[in-house]
Amino acid sequence: MSQPIEFHPSFAERSRAAVNDPNLRKSFRGAMDFLQAKRRAQFPDADELARLRDLGSAIRRHALANLPELLQQLEAKLTANGVIVHWAETPAEANAIVLDIARRREAKRMVKGKSMVSEECGLNHAMEAAGVEALETDMGEYIVQLAGEGPSHIIMPAIHKTKQEIARLFERKLPGVAYTENVDELIRIGRQVLRKKFAAADIGLSGVNFAVAETGTLFLVENEGNGRMCTTVPRVHVAITGIEKVVAKLEHVAVLNSLLPRSATGQPVETYQNFITGPRKPDELDGPDEVHLILLDNGRTQAYADLQLRATLQCIRCGACMNHCPVYARIGGHAYGTVYPGPIGAIVSPHLLGLESTYPLAFASTLCGACAEVCPVRIPIVDILIRLRTEAQARPEAAHLRGSGSARTGKVSAIWRAWSLVYSRLRLYRIATWFLSRGRALSPTEQGAWTRCRTPLVPASKRLRDLMRERRR
């Protein structure tokens, strides 16, 4: 028998390499233990946590149930506040909108706050290709950009790097900087470099944590102050987000942001909660003259169209699922090969990229359920993983998603066809099981992926009907 699932070779290779990298294993294990303990300490009262998760889930489900109306309300409110709203179906469209703004303003330098949606779009590449510098300013993002990498965690992008590696990176890449492992000193170096960039930037780009339909407010959280710099100092602020990030009421933000930092990094609150409700007013002395919001689809409407998969869009991007995932803790973020790693990455990525390239991620799970247990908005991640596995094996007539059925192979299909043929004909079934139970000595000892870490499957020596017959005697 062949292996039922043919893992995407590059994912398998990347995971194998990660599992065999002791430094990476140590970085992630240490970081995950640290983040798990910090989260636990933030929720001492299990009842309060349960109530809060119920509310958080209800707020997100309410927003999704009314998504088309809320998006239009958000657009109307933002427009009335003086914010320019754009819609993009694909990353290419989103990048073109940003480039168009940059060209119109003759912008050469863009500073960026943390935005996973901009990673999703590959925005930095698109900007650099058009001659606009796109500089990451979150310390972790700055470090991975300097190293020519992508983030390995959605909240802590440089989690895979040790301070020694960062010290060597700064020494190599930054002129006049000497090797130092002192973290305060490393941060001071980053601060000095980036302060000049903030002052000189033409455009600031940011993500959005929640967009409030009621007031037309973009809510952003951060600890460093780079997000505020990006959204306040340059003359133009461009915010980019997925269409699912809207909530109905301003007060909903208070509940969700009680869950977000505690679930994400185990801190009671972020240093800065930034409520942006419009560009600089004529009498104000700072803030951007222009504020844009780009609403990106990129496959989210596919998840939305299916009532079970719609729950994927409840996500508030805290990263708790990856912090508690035994697979993520061992292979790290880069092995996934997608912008969003971990359990949330496994259930979001198929809509963004198609199931054909991402279905192995749904199988790279023990289904232990730790992710769903910590999810602050109660996304049934395990059910969705199983559903995606089913979709990956779906017959063409039962396909719901882009890339459904891509895990099906000719061999597996043939086995299932033979199985259903035998199972639906009683005489054939009796004959087949008679031969199998009598011929069990002929069972192959090599059974593909199954026997890589398990003993071979061998039919029983007596069929159930044989056992029943003996018993009746």
């Binding site: 088309p68 300013t137 310390m139 930034n274 002395l285 803030g287 689809d297 409407t301 169209a305």
Partner: protein, 218 residues
């Protein structure tokens, strides 16, 4: 068809599913948000202190002098204040001979380099505060611009102790935020920080490395 029309068409064509009622938050109070004004002051102090901010008790008459003394002790030579700074005259008198007060009265773009390199501290009033998370609510306007609390390495904030709410939602409701948001409301819970290098906490990432709260009790 435009991207907007296509996206909305796909969303509208999707099955509606079970209706979800608007969540009722009236019963929701975070576990820690009970208690009277004195408890709120104490909780605010503990929580913002845990986030590495300094808090000083003062009164309506003494704060200008305290502010200037603290600033001078921290080596501040030039402190940025908004044109709407409270008690400007007394503040000027207290600053005399100790430090220079720089008034924020020009468009930021016209003096960015000076603001980024030549200012040691910023002073801003605070609208209110939040006990539960130890946070300051800033409501910037022409007289108290946004960058006062961000660009200078030290941020001094003036808070009236009677304006401390239990939690963020209570502040939103009591102050009717949804009826009129400023261009950039802010909730600040300590000095700028990062733990992006090996989860080691460092202060003064991009914003102020020190946050000093003057807590005014009448």
């Amino acid at each position: 068809m435009s991207a907007r029309a296509n996206i909305l068409a796909r969303l509208t064509a999707a099955p509606r599913g079970e209706p979800v009622p608007l969540p009722d938050l009236t019963e929701w109070r975070s576990a820690a948000s009970q208690g009277d004004a004195a408890i709120r002051v104490a909780r605010f102090w503990t929580n913002i202190g845990a986030a590495h901010a300094e808090v000083h008790d003062t009164d309506p008459d003494a704060w200008p002098d305290l502010l200037c003394r603290l600033a001078a002790e921290k080596g501040v030579r030039r402190m940025l204040i908004g044109t709407g700074a409270p008690s400007a005259e007394r503040l000027t008198a207290s600053a005399a001979g100790r430090l220079e007060l720089v008034r924020y009265e020009r468009l930021a773009h016209d003096w960015k380099d000076e603001m980024f390199d030549g200012i040691d501290a910023g002073f801003s009033p605070v609208k209110s505060a939040i006990a539960d998370t130890g946070s300051l609510v800033l409501w910037p306007d022409a007289g108290a611009p946004r960058l006062l609390s961000l660009v200078p390495p030290i941020h001094f904030a003036l808070l009236d102790a009677s304006r401390i709410h239990a939690d963020l939602r209570s502040a939103m409701i009591a102050e009717r935020w949804a009826d009129g948001m400023p261009t950039n409301a802010l909730v600040v819970s300590g000095p700028s920080k990062t733990a992006d290098i090996q989860q080691t906490l460092a202060y003064g990432a991009h914003g102020p490395r020190e946050l000093v709260v003057l807590l005014v009790k009448s």
